[in-house]
Structure formats: structure tokens, C-alpha cells
Symmetry: C2
Subunit: 199 residues, 2 copies
């Protein structure tokens, strides 16, 4: 499956295909990509496995569609944030908001992005790894500038990056159990906890 030879990632998918991707996201979240069979997926949709192939080319295509679309959202998002003329703290606040927004929209898909990206193949694996590395690099530069400017405490930069990103990346596991929290209040509290601590 070539990345440039189809249109799976950026445009809206036809109805049936979108249903398949959506059902797959849920199953992949529960058991992981490798443990979900095409028969499992078909059963969840009330059809037979063979019928899936009228809508998708392969199991691999489903995984790539889920992951690459989300990775591109994060890439686009952080580029927009970097460009703004904000303070470092404001930029980090916007990154927290970005993760919360994406999580609210597609928590299930984020499970695959976090746990099953290594099962991507060929160009998609490389493409994903490059996006992820670039994302971390943008974040790293941001934190570095914040420390130099005296906005952030002079902690080990890697620890700041790790502790912040690990929390944001795991939101997909936690938020579905906390739907009663208003998203705006969640953003405010998350910003407060991550930036100012709990003591």
C-alpha cells in the first residue's frame, strides 16, 4: 500500500469504509492490532470477513488509515503552535489543548497510534517515525527556549518532555472513563497540574 497512491488519509472516507475503520479502532484498542482477526472485525460489523475486502485492501491498510491520519493531525497542530508569537508557557498550554481535542474526537484511534505503530509497514512506518521524531523535536526546542528565557524551571529538559508527553499520550485511556468532566475544565486543570504541579 503506497502512501501516495491512494487517498485514505486526508479526505473523508465513504460510509462503509469509515464504519470499518471505526469498528477496527475499537477492537484494536481492546486487544491490539495483532490479536484482532478479520473474522473478529467482520463479526463486529455483522458481516463475513470476505466482504470486508470490497471496502478495504488489507488489514494493514486499516491500521495505516487510523494511525497516519492522527499523526498528521498532531504534526499540523504543532506546526501551527510553533508559528504563533506566544510565550513558551502559552505554547505548552496550546499543546495540552491539542491533545485533549484530538483525544475527545478519536480516543480509540489513539490506542493504535500509541501501541501498534510498530506494525505499520514500509513507507508508512518510516513516515510515522519521522513525524513522531519531529514532533518531539519541536517540543524539545520549545521547552529549551522556555528554560533559557527563564519561563520554566531549570530542570532536566528530557524529564520535562517525558513527563508531559507521557501524560498527554495516555489521555486516550483515561478520558473515556471521565466523560462527565467538561472539556474546558479538563484543559484548565490539566494545564495547572502539568505546569504548576500538585503541591
Amino acid at each position: 500500500m503506497g502512501r501516495t497512491s491512494d487517498n485514505s488519509f486526508n479526505m473523508k472516507l465513504e460510509g462503509r469504509k469509515q464504519e470499518i475503520i471505526y469498528a477496527a479502532s475499537i477492537l484494536f484498542k481492546e486487544k491490539g492490532y495483532s490479536a484482532v482477526s478479520m473474522r473478529d472485525l467482520a463479526k463486529a460489523l455483522g458481516m463475513k470477513a470476505a466482504s470486508l475486502y470490497n471496502h478495504i485492501q488489507s488489514k494493514q491498510e486499516i491500521l495505516a488509515t487510523i494511525i497516519i491520519g492522527l499523526a498528521e493531525e498532531f504534526t499540523t497542530g504543532i506546526h501551527a503552535i510553533v508559528k504563533t508569537k506566544s510565550t513558551t508557557v502559552e505554547k505548552i498550554e496550546q499543546i495540552i489543548a491539542l491533545h485533549i481535542d484530538v483525544t475527545l474526537r478519536n480516543a480509540d484511534g489513539l490506542a493504535s497510534l500509541n501501541n501498534d505503530w510498530m506494525h505499520l509497514e514500509e513507507e508508512n512506518l518510516i513516515y510515522f517515525e519521522n513525524m513522531r521524531q519531529e514532533y518531539e523535536e519541536q517540543f524539545r526546542m520549545m521547552v529549551h527556549e522556555g528554560v533559557v528565557a527563564g519561563e520554566l524551571k531549570p530542570h532536566n529538559i528530557e524529564i520535562i518532555i517525558f513527563s508531559t508527553l507521557s501524560t498527554l499520550r495516555t489521555l486516550y485511556l483515561w478520558y473515556p472513563n471521565q466523560r462527565h468532566i467538561d472539556p474546558e475544565i479538563l484543559k484548565r486543570d490539566m494545564i495547572s497540574v502539568l505546569l504548576k504541579g500538585v503541591v
Copy 2:
């Protein structure tokens, strides 16, 4: 495989079995339990798949041995911490130290605990889920007491628990790339970042 009918979890394993568990931990971390075959595992150990069964009963036993042992370490650890007559902040500091210690000792195994626990079967799945729930409950009570006593800021308790645990649970992914950091300095900085924030 019954939990009480063998001694896999608490005592030291014979040499060859331990090598198998160790090699499996690494492979499970890289690709996940379901995507690692017994042939993959055997190849990593320079033997044939059939030979593995002279040392272990099933693939499932390997997973359970990895996960249950670690879960019991955390259970024992948090019970000891709860019993101490420390302030809440001191207890949280001890929990951070506990996670760092376990991660230093067995980062690979923690990948299975975090990502493949749902592939445990029967009693082991129930046993694990109970331990995990109890762990979170102990943590929750601790944070609650800290807020009531005025030691912790009156944030949403669930957000504090989530942000702290998500970072500690993801240490296994991060620490192997940061081996140059002295464990004691890591503990100190992690305590500072998680409790007092970065601003």
C-alpha cells in the same frame, strides 16, 4: 495453568527458564505478546520452538510469569508505603521511587504489564485486574488524604492520579534511552517535576 498449582511467580526460576522469560520480555516489548511467535522466541535463544516446551508449559505461562511477578511487586510495595507514618507528600515520593526501582530492574517486563495484561487468561486475568484496581484505590485514598490535609492543591483528584501514574507507568519506555542519568538524580528530578511542576 493454575495460580496456586505452581511456583512460577515468587521464587527464582531455574536458569534456562529464566533466560526464556527474559528473552520473551524483550520480544514482547518490541512487538507485543500476540505478534511474537514461539518460533521467534526460540530463534532469539538459538533453539527450536519445540525445545522451549521442555522448560515452559505454554506461551501463556510466559506472559503470566512476567506480568504477575511485577504486579505483586507493586502490590507489596504500595502496602509497605501505606503503612508508614509519613506525610502524603512523602508517601508519593516513595511511590515514585518504587516505580523507578522496578523500572531499573525490569523495564522490558513492564511493557507486557502495561500493554499485554489483557491477554492473560482465567484466574491470572482476574488476579491482575484486582491488584491493579487495588493499587489505584490505595493511591486514590492517599491523594484524597493529602488534599483534605491541605498538603496537596485542591485539584480534581482523578487528574492528579492520572497524570502521576501515567508518567510513572511509561517510565519503562523512556528510561532505557536515559541510562546516563543517575537513578538518585532521576528520582529527585522526577519528584520535583511531578509534585512542584515545571513553571
